[in-house]
Amino acid sequence: MIRCINVCKTFDDREVLSNIDTTFEKGKTNLIIGQSGSGKTVLLKCMVGLHEVTSGDIMYSETNFSALSNKQRSEERKKIGMIFQGGALFDFATVEGNVLFPLNMFTNMSEEEKLDRANFCLRRVNLINVNHLYPSQISGGMQKRVAIARAIALNPKYLFCDEPNSGLDPITAGIIDNLIKELTIEYDITTIINTHDMNSVMQIGDKVMFIHEGKKWWEGSKDDILDSDNPELKKFVFASEMAQMVKKYHNRLKMK
């Protein structure tokens, strides 16, 4: 479980996050949604310590992460897996090398055990026969899957995903979303996903938090979203033509 307690973040004089107070639950896919520039990525980076919070606390279970020293944070971060928007795979390593990296760095496993674990993770994300390819030689969807495999290599307790399906076609995006959901349940991870993709929200959103202009405007489950009265959330959710059609259909069903 991760708790954000009155988290504020300012850059110079610009307030990007204002009093974010929420709890992300274990074993669930927690989604942070909002428009581009609403502060989602900044919140995620505050939670993993890539940005320092201006005020407030980030609690990892009972540990106050924002109060830890750099050394203590490094230890805590070994429990974290993160999938970046662009994959952030290491150019200097092959697919296998990327998944092996955390194992080489932080375990005392034998070479054989590390290879077994890397291959297990790659198989888990349905990647076969790509071990010796470099990130530039595989597709965007495959890069995301390698990033997931790398993120789960050390059995993390917390999984952070920054727009994991951005730039992917709807089918591949769905596969990635389902994979993250499956892994969350399988390993009982606290998963936090930044997205502005409503398909993801409806597919895997156990808990959804809507951020607008750096403030928490709404939170609930994916089933509550369509019935919300929050004007900004409605504007966001029903922004696309497809969503408008769904809304009409939903209203028609309710009337019946």
């Binding site: 993993v48 310590g49 890539l50 490094s74 971060r77 952030a88 150019d91």
Partner: protein, 246 residues
Amino acid sequence: MNFFASIGKYTLFIHRVFSKPEKWSIYYSRTIIEIEKLGINSIGIVLIISVFMGAVITLQTAYNTTSPLLPTYIIGVAARDSILLEFSSTIVALILAGKVGSNISSEIGTMRITEQIDALEIMGVNSAGFLVMPKIIGAMFFFPVLTILSMVIGIFGGWLVGEFTGVITTMEYIKGIQWGFIPFYVTYSLVKSVIFAFIITSVAAFHGYHVKGGSLEVGKASTKAVVVSSILVLLFNLVITQLLLK
């Protein structure tokens, strides 16, 4: 003020770079890779430049020492001392500041903007140490080798052009390069190359590591890294010369 802020930031960066590694064996293998990337892959350019510079120094000395009072072997002496004292360490360092410096800065800068450095940090890896320490150590280890190669090839280039154009005979050239030889000049040159290696790699890495923005900023950081490290090489050349040769 900005200057002092940069010095402070650079000092903190170097402190992080030389923090205790998470795993020595991985840093060791990265250092070997960096020796190949930064050192062995620079042998070609160093050899080409050295042979031509040795040749040009010999020709220029020959055409400017026309006095019958000066013995011909003085051409060999001048070529040797120019190569040993200045060319093989400083000029080669300036060339490497361009080649190696821009390479390091753009590599690390690209890793920064593609969030690879963030990914390292999230894993609990000291990204500055992991990425930069092997480069600095690799360069400090191999630049002296390049300097020695440059000395040998520069002197060879001088002999080659002397023989080819007839400005000096082989015997006189060999006499010249042996005459009044001070072995400390080699030590002085090697000391300089180690310090220049540190300056070039650390300054380039510093600029790459702190890139903010996109590919345009990576390019700007590379240019800045080359300019700053070149100026620092010249400045430290002056300081070291005063300290070691006075």
